[in-house]
Amino acid sequence: MDSVDLEHFLVIGAILFGIGLYMSLAKRNFVGVLIGIELMFNGVNLTFISFSRFVESAEPLNGHIFVIFVITVAAAEAAVALALAVLLYRLRDTINVDQIDLLKW
C-alpha cells in the first residue's frame, strides 16, 4: 500500500464540505441547515490542517492557528443561531425555514 498523503486528506475534506453544502441547501429544518454549515466548517478545518502538515511554508503553524479560530467562530455562530431558533420557535411554533416566509420580493 502507498502511504497516506495530502490528496487523501484533501479529498476527505472536499467530501465533507460537499455533504455539508448539500445538507444546508436540502434540509428544511433550521437546525439541519445549521448542522450542514458546521459540517462545511469541519471540511475546511481538515483542509487547513492537512495543508499545514504537508505544504512547505514559511509559516507552517498558520494553518493550525486558523483552525483553532475557525472552531471558536463556529461555536459562537452556533450560539447566535440557536438563540434565534429558540426565539422563532416561541413566536411561531416552527423552525421549518420554508414556513418562515413573511418577507419576500
Binding site: 484533501l10 464540505f17 455539508g20 444546508s24 433550521f30 441547515v33 445549521l34 454549515i37 462545511m40 466548517f41 471540511g43 475546511v44 483542509t47 487547513f48 495543508f51 499545514s52 505544504v55 512547505e56 511554508s57 514559511a58 509559516e59 498558520n62 494553518g63 492557528i65 486558523f66 479560530f69 475557525v70 467562530v73 459562537a76 455562530e77 447566535v80 443561531a81 434565534l84 431558533a85 426565539l87 422563532l88 413566536l91 411561531r92 425555514v97 418562515i100 416566509d101 413573511l102 418577507l103 419576500k104 420580493w105
Partner: protein, 493 residues
C-alpha cells in the same frame, strides 16, 4: 516573526471595546440615565475613537504581521467611526420608543465598528476573517433585535444562515489559497502568484472563485444577494442604515485591499468574472427596485445596484480606479445615511415605511422632504450632488482601463435608477397628505441631517480634498505591492 507588538496602534479599537463594555454597565447600574442619553454617550465614544485614529495620519506602521496602520486604515477608521456615531445618534429616539435593552444595542453597534476597522486594517487573511465575523455577528444580532417583531426575527434568521453559509465558502477559498501559496499574508500571496503558477493553477483558481463567491455574499452582489432585501426590510431601521453603510463599506475596504495586494498578478483571470458580476448586479438591483412598494426594500435593491457600480471599480482595478472607488464609497455612505436619516425620522413620527405613506410629506415636513429628495437625486447620480461626481470619476477611471463598455452599462443603469427614485419624490411633492399638521422638529436629528447633506454637496461640488485623501490612502496599498516586487522606495521601513 516579530515578537514585540505595538499595542498602542490598536488604541481606537481598545477604546471602542472598552466603551461598549462601559455602555452595558451604565445601562445595568444606572437605569435612570435614560435610553436616549445612552445613545448619545455611545456616539461620543465612537467619535472619540475616530478622533484618536487621526494620530496615525501619514504614518506607515505594522502591527506584527497582522495589520497595518497607514493612511488607508486611518481613512476607513474615521469613516467607520463616523458611521457608527451617526447611527447611535439616529437610533436614540427609535430605541427609546420601540426597543428593549438599549445598552447591548449600542454596544453591538460599537463592536460592529471594531470589526469594520479590523477589515480595513488587516493585511492577513485570518485577521480579516475574524474581523469579518465580528462585524457579521453583531449585525445578525442587531437585525433580530426587535425581539417580538416577527419580521425582525425572520430577517435575522435569513441573514444569519446565509451569512454563515457564505463564510464557510469564503473559508474554503482561504484554505485553498493558503495551501497553494503557503501563506495567509496578502503581500506574500501576491509575491507567489506573480511568479510561476503553472503547478498550483487548479487550487489557485478554485480558491479565487470561492473567495469571490464568499465576498460577493458579504457585499451583496448578484447572484449572492438573496438575503439583502429581507434583512433590510425586517431589521430595525437604524440597523438597516448600519448594514447598508458600514457592512458595505467594510466589505469593499477589504475586497479592494485583498485584490489590490494579493490577487493583482492574476487580474486578467478574474477581471471579466467580476465585470460579469457587476453587470448582473446593476441590472437586477435597478430593475427589481422599480416594482418595490416598501421604502426599506427599495433602498435595499438600490444598494444592490450601488454594489454593481463599486464592482466596476474592482473589475478595472488600478491605482486610479482604486481611489475613485474609495471616493465613491465615501460618497455613497454619506448619501445613504442622509436618505436613511429621513426615513428614520418619518418612521419615528408615524411608524410607517411604505412608499405610498410618504404622500404629502412636503407639506408636513418640508425640510425632511427636501433632504430626502437631495439624497435620492444623489444616489441616482444627478449633477450637483455627490453621486454624480463620484460616479463620473469612477466610470472615467474604469474607461481608462479599457473597460469603457462596462462604464457605459453602469451609466445606463444609473439612468434607469432615476425612475424609481422619482416615484418616491413624486409621492412626497405631488401627493396630498391626509393630515396637514406639521411634525415636531427634533433638533439633534435635524443637525445630523444637515451635516450629512452638507457632505453630499461638498463631495458633489468640490471633491478635490476628499479625492486627495482617497489617493493618499490607496497609494499605501499599492506601495506595499511594489515593495514586494522589489522596486526601491523611499520612506518605507
Amino acid at each position: 516573526m516579530s515578537t514585540s507588538l505595538e499595542w498602542g496602534l490598536l488604541a481606537p479599537e481598545f477604546l471602542l471595546a472598552g466603551w461598549a463594555a462601559f455602555i452595558i454597565l451604565i445601562d445595568l447600574f444606572w437605569g435612570g440615565l435614560g435610553k436616549e442619553r445612552l445613545g448619545w454617550l455611545a456616539a461620543i465614544g465612537a467619535a472619540a475613537a475616530g478622533g484618536l485614529s487621526l494620530i496615525w495620519v501619514g504614518d506607515t506602521k505594522e502591527f506584527g504581521t497582522l495589520a497595518d496602520i497607514n493612511d488607508y486604515t486611518t481613512l476607513f477608521r474615521v469613516l467607520f467611526c463616523g458611521i457608527g456615531a451617526t447611527i447611535c445618534i439616529l437610533s436614540a429616539r427609535y430605541v427609546k420608543d420601540r426597543l428593549l435593552h438599549p445598552g447591548e444595542f449600542y454596544a453591538l453597534i460599537l463592536l460592529a465598528v471594531i470589526g469594520a476597522n479590523g477589515m480595513a486594517a488587516a493585511h492577513e487573511l485570518l485577521t480579516a476573517y475574524i474581523s469579518l465575523e465580528l462585524l457579521s455577528f453583531s449585525l445578525y444580532t442587531l437585525t433580530a433585535y426587535a425581539k417580538f417583531d416577527l419580521r425582525s426575527n425572520e430577517a435575522g434568521l435569513k441573514y444569519m444562515l446565509l451569512g454563515a453559509f457564505s463564510s464557510a465558502i469564503f473559508l474554503y477559498g482561504i484554505g485553498l489559497i493558503y495551501g497553494t501559496t503557503g501563506s495567509t499574508q496578502f503581500a506574500v500571496i501576491g509575491d507567489v502568484l506573480s511568479g510561476d503558477t503553472s503547478d498550483i493553477e487548479w487550487g489557485m483558481y478554485m480558491g479565487l472563485a470561492l473567495i469571490i463567491g464568499g465576498l460577493g455574499f458579504k457585499v451583496a452582489a448578484v447572484p449572492f444577494h438573496m438575503y439583502t432585501p429581507d434583512a433590510y426590510e425586517g431589521a430595525p431601521i437604524p440597523i438597516t442604515a448600519l448594514i447598508s453603510a458600514l457592512a458595505k463599506a467594510a466589505g469593499f475596504a477589504f475586497f479592494l485591499k485583498l485584490f489590490a495586494v494579493a490577487f493583482l498578478p492574476l487580474i486578467d483571470d478574474w477581471r471579466y468574472f467580476i465585470a460579469g458580476l457587476a453587470v448582473a448586479t446593476m441590472a437586477l438591483g435597478n430593475l427589481v427596485a422599480i416594482q418595490q412598494r416598501n421604502m426599506k426594500r427599495l433602498l435595499a435593491y438600490s444598494s444592490i445596484g450601488q454594489v454593481g457600480y463599486l464592482l466596476v471599480g474592482i473589475a478595472a482595478l488600478s491605482q486610479d480606479t482604486a481611489s475613485a472607488l474609495v471616493l465613491h464609497l465615501i460618497g455613497y455612505a454619506v448619501t445613504n445615511l442622509a436618505a436613511f436619516t429621513c426615513i428614520i425620522l418619518y418612521y419615528n413620527w408615524t411608524g410607517k415605511e411604505e412608499i405610498e405613506d410618504y404622500k404629502g410629506l412636503a407639506q408636513r415636513a418640508p425640510y425632511v422632504a427636501l433632504c430626502l429628495t437631495i439624497a435620492l437625486f444623489s444616489l441616482a447620480g444627478m449633477p450637483l450632488f455627490a453621486g454624480f461626481t463620484t460616479k463620473f470619476i469612477l466610470f472615467q477611471a474604469a474607461a481608462d482601463e479599457d473597460m469603457l463598455w462596462l462604464a457605459g452599462v453602469a451609466a445606463f443603469f444609473s439612468f434607469v435608477s432615476l425612475y424609481y427614485y422619482l416615484i418616491v419624490i413624486r409621492e412626497m411633492y405631488v401627493g396630498e397628505a391626509e393630515e396637514k399638521t406639521r411634525f415636531p422638529t427634533p433638533w439633534l436629528e435635524y443637525t445630523a441631517l444637515t451635516v450629512l447633506i452638507a457632505g453630499v454637496f461638498l463631495i458633489g461640488l468640490y471633491p478635490r480634498p476628499v479625492l486627495e485623501l482617497a489617493e493618499d490612502a490607496t497609494a499605501t496599498i499599492f506601495v506595499s505591492e511594489e515593495l514586494e516586487s522589489g522596486e526601491d522606495l523611499v520612506g518605507v521601513p
